[in-house]
Amino acid sequence: MCRDCGCSLTPESPARIVEVVQDLLCENDRIAAHNRAHFDAHAVLAINLMSSPGAGKTALLEATIVALRSRVRIAVIEGDLATDNDAVRIRAHGVPAVQITTGAACHLDAQRVHEALHQLPLAAIDLLFIENVGNLVCPASFDLGQHRNVTLLSVTEGDDKPAKYPVIFRASDLVVLSKTDLLEVLDDFDPQRAAAALRGLGGDTAMICTAVRRAPAIAAWLAWLDAQLHGRAGDYRRVPVRRPLSVPAARRSGV
């Protein structure tokens, strides 16, 4: 075959095919692993808090800080489309908070979290909450380097949310029903139906109830946090990160 003049090259000449099989989010995953290494080196438990907008993530964090700050050193990374209102609320409790303003981006990614980490004194933190952008779709796909995923479902939403947003609820280590003090005036949210929808996704993800306004009740939440920090399940570094979708299947297989 002539290799000099190009006479053998026709529009049908075969293209060169490169087989890849590479995770599309492998660069994000690489940075997430780096973040996780930072957390582990400083013995920081990192929790990614997700929900739809207005489910009460910041309010739960405020109540958590008040309850735990005497014995647990807490910091918060706040993700929002615009404004630093939530970070201001957190700082008012004397806790370091770094605001990530995502602009048009609907989720946090590992790089944005990594940049925020440089503004936090990791050596002086036991528990880091990463409050993701309010969104039940996009945040589920991005590993941030967290050890645990927690998703809030407020009782002012539909109790079929786990069935409507299976990807994010599957990725959760814990589902928190929030604003349960409103259940008495809401006749269309049934916690049992929410639990059934969650169970339909497989696995044994726990669901607990919280309220922080009219009749504060966060004991179950604090107990879960304590178990992650100190209990038998507390050696969080040995427990595989649960199903953030960007973690390759090989690392998920033990879950």
């Binding site: 190009g6 090259l9 890849v20 099989v21 995770d23 599309l24 796909s141 994010i168 599957r170 696995g203």
Partner: protein, 122 residues
């Protein structure tokens, strides 16, 4: 919305592969997006049409493959088909299942046109 971020990650990978191969242009990109990947294939395809402009993949076709969801049951050991929001074992009804197919979000294959061939064809 996050399809834009994922499309950018895809184009970054393709640009690296094309550059390393010294290719003239990219003809086809084949990716796999499972039903449980949390990514809408139609939105990803739309994002690709806009974002491919000006790069090595400006004329590339994007092929999106998808495999049906399958779960493996830890209780009875069987593998069965499942729906995105109903991931229980189809045989025993057990909830201790693992998704073994359907979460994929990966680049499978890139088809490149060598620089000299591209020139000859044109």
């Amino acid at each position: 919305m996050h399809e834009l971020s994922i499309c950018q990650a895809l184009l970054n990978q393709v640009t690296c592969i094309s550059g390393a191969a010294g290719a003239g242009r990219v003809e086809r990109i084949v990716i796999e997006v499972g039903p449980l990947a949390g990514v809408e294939p139609g939105l990803l395809a739309s994002a690709f049409l806009v974002m491919r402009a000006g790069g090595c993949a400006a004329e590339a076709a994007l092929i999106i493959e998808s495999a049906a969801i399958k779960v493996a049951c830890d209780a009875c050991g069987s593998v069965s088909a499942a729906l995105a929001n109903r991931l229980l074992c189809a045989l025993c009804g057990g909830y201790r299942t693992r998704v073994i197919c359907g979460e994929e979000l990966r680049l499978l294959r890139v088809e490149l046109r060598p620089a000299d061939a591209a020139h000859a064809v044109n």
